[in-house]
């Protein structure tokens, strides 16, 4: 029970405390304390009627006690001083009306004046409730490093006056992009390495964003994209090896989640969404239909290239073009791209060359891809392709 409340409500509790204390470190400490007290009391005294309000109130009181003890009543805590002089009536009825301030907290954590890694770490810590150890493990970064990075970011938020607010309209699109990018990055981190908990965490964050900003088509589109991609999770690996979409056992796809993702996608389209995440979700949807409409996929990728100018997207368009116009046309597109440090550039090129019967060149390209691939399942996949080429030649 408590674990569930922790997962669901940690972000809300921390957000309410940051709003009050204007200091993330203090807020986290107080929230942690409140959850510890709950772990002790709830099994004994029963779960309070409004667990969130109970946690926020308890944490707030703890923080006030602590600040009293440490006599930190400086300018920054003038607000607290006023509250201490005039403590509010604390009845449970009043406490149930704490506003949900997670959105303010997300925009603080993903403020562009923070480095991307700090944004990701802070979001996972303050909204997702992941511990510093867990974040370090997920990103293969030593505890010390991640801990320092988070502390530095929290200090900067406090000292540089990074706002705790939803950005004004003229800044909102670009700031929302930053937030969505962080959530997508967290998802992909879980996706590439097969670390399921990060993907699940990203979906939770995505759901929270849609709940908080139900009319932002791109937020809705991102959630649809995450749900649709994640629905294929079970089919993506077999015995620790990557399985390509064409070879995936469709019986392992999570039908219920696909339906859910499609409903969310329809909602995004109904909101007139035509931004990059909505387009990517629509493409993911098309990829899961049988047979696949490669014409439509190629044209959506073309629209996405228009929006993003991304060579990686152009690479994906080339893959769709290969299905519509054949590998020669696709290879011509791929060869125009400057993506020599990108492993999928080489594996895509290798695949096209193989289909054109240019076996030696394909072999070289697979080698180049292999050199750039760190994760074991993907490495094994490429090694097998190389073996297949060798077998075919003999």
């Amino acid at each position: 029970m408590l674990e569930e409340v922790f997962r669901d409500e940690w972000g809300r509790v921390v957000a309410a405390l940051v709003s009050f204390l204007r200091d993330i470190e203090l807020a986290e400490d107080a929230a942690q304390e409140a959850f510890a007290i709950a772990a002790e009391r709830w099994p004994r005294d029963g779960v309070p009627e409004s667990p969130v309000a109970w946690l926020i109130t308890t944490a707030r009181n703890r923080a006030i006690d602590r600040i009293r003890r440490e006599r930190m009543l400086t300018e920054k805590t003038a607000l607290l001083a006023r509250e201490l002089a005039d403590p509010p009536e604390e009845t449970m009825d009043e406490l149930t009306t704490f506003p949900d301030e997670r959105l303010e907290l997300i925009f603080t954590c993903c403020h562009p004046s923070l480095g991307l890694e700090a944004q990701v770490g802070l979001t996972l810590r303050t909204l997702g409730g992941l511990s510093t150890e867990e974040i370090g493990r997920a990103f293969l970064v030593p505890f010390e490093t991640i801990s320092k990075r988070l502390t530095r970011a929290k200090n900067k938020i406090r000292d540089a006056g990074i706002p705790f607010a939803v950005p004004p309209d003229h800044l909102l699109p670009e700031r929302l992009d930053a937030v969505l990018a962080v959530v997508y990055l967290i998802f992909n981190e879980g996706w590439g390495g097969g670390r399921v908990d990060l993907s699940a965490e990203a979906i939770r964050l995505g759901r929270a964003l849609v709940e908080l900003m139900p009319d932002e088509a791109e937020a809705v589109g991102l959630l649809a994209l995450l749900l649709l991609n994640d629905a294929r999770r079970e089919a993506r690996f077999r015995d620790g090896e990557v399985v390509l979409l064409d070879d995936q056992n469709r019986g392992l796809w999570d039908r219920q989640q696909i339906d859910g993702g499609r409903t969310v996608l329809q909602h995004a389209i109904a909101l007139q969404g035509n931004g990059p995440y909505v387009l990517q979700a629509a493409i993911a949807d098309l990829h899961m239909q049988d047979p696949r409409d490669w014409h439509e996929i190629a044209s959506l990728y073309a629209a996405l290239v228009q929006l993003t100018g991304s060579p990686v997207v152009e690479l994906n368009r080339a893959i769709a073009v290969a299905e519509v116009e054949g590998p020669t046309a696709a290879l011509a597109l791929v060869d125009q791209l400057e993506l020599h440090e990108y492993r999928y550039f080489h594996s895509t090129r290798a695949n096209l060359l193989r289909r054109l019967g240019r076996t030696d060149e394909a072999h070289n390209e697979y080698r180049l891809a292999l050199d750039l691939t760190p994760t074991e399942p993907e490495r094994r996949f490429l090694e097998e392709r190389i073996e297949e080429l060798d077998d075919a030649q003999q």
Binding site: E75, A160, G161, I162, P163
Partner: protein, 110 residues
């Protein structure tokens, strides 16, 4: 909160000092006249700098700026803003009038 906007220029991109001494670009002057701009100063070229340091109790004078690089500090503006976004908005407005360099925004110690 108070923030310092540190106006950096580059040696290739900056106008000659004689030219910079003339009237301030009216777009920048308009910003400097706002009530939330608390103070500002323009600096002479880095060649005019003398750097003082102490080494083993001895005073050393060096001709030139502390950090000798292609980027140099050309001026400082101190502004009052509600939060970092407020200060960044002013910095962005100023930077749009410039063709090179960059503006570093830093909170002042209270």
């Amino acid at each position: 909160m108070q923030y310092a906007l540190l106006i950096y220029s580059t040696t290739e991109g900056s106008r000659p000092e004689a030219e910079r001494l003339g009237p301030i670009d009216p777009r920048i002057a308009a910003v400097l006249e706002r009530p939330r701009v608390l103070n500002w100063a323009r600096l002479r070229d880095p060649e005019s700098a003398t750097t003082i340091r102490h080494d083993a109790g001895k005073t050393l004078l060096v001709d030139g700026p502390f950090i000798d690089s292609k980027e140099f500090l050309g001026g400082v503006i101190v502004v009052e803003a509600d939060d970092l976004d407020g200060a960044l908005a002013i910095a962005d407005e100023l930077q749009q009038t410039r063709t090179d360099g960059a503006i570093e925004v830093r909170p002042l110690l209270p």
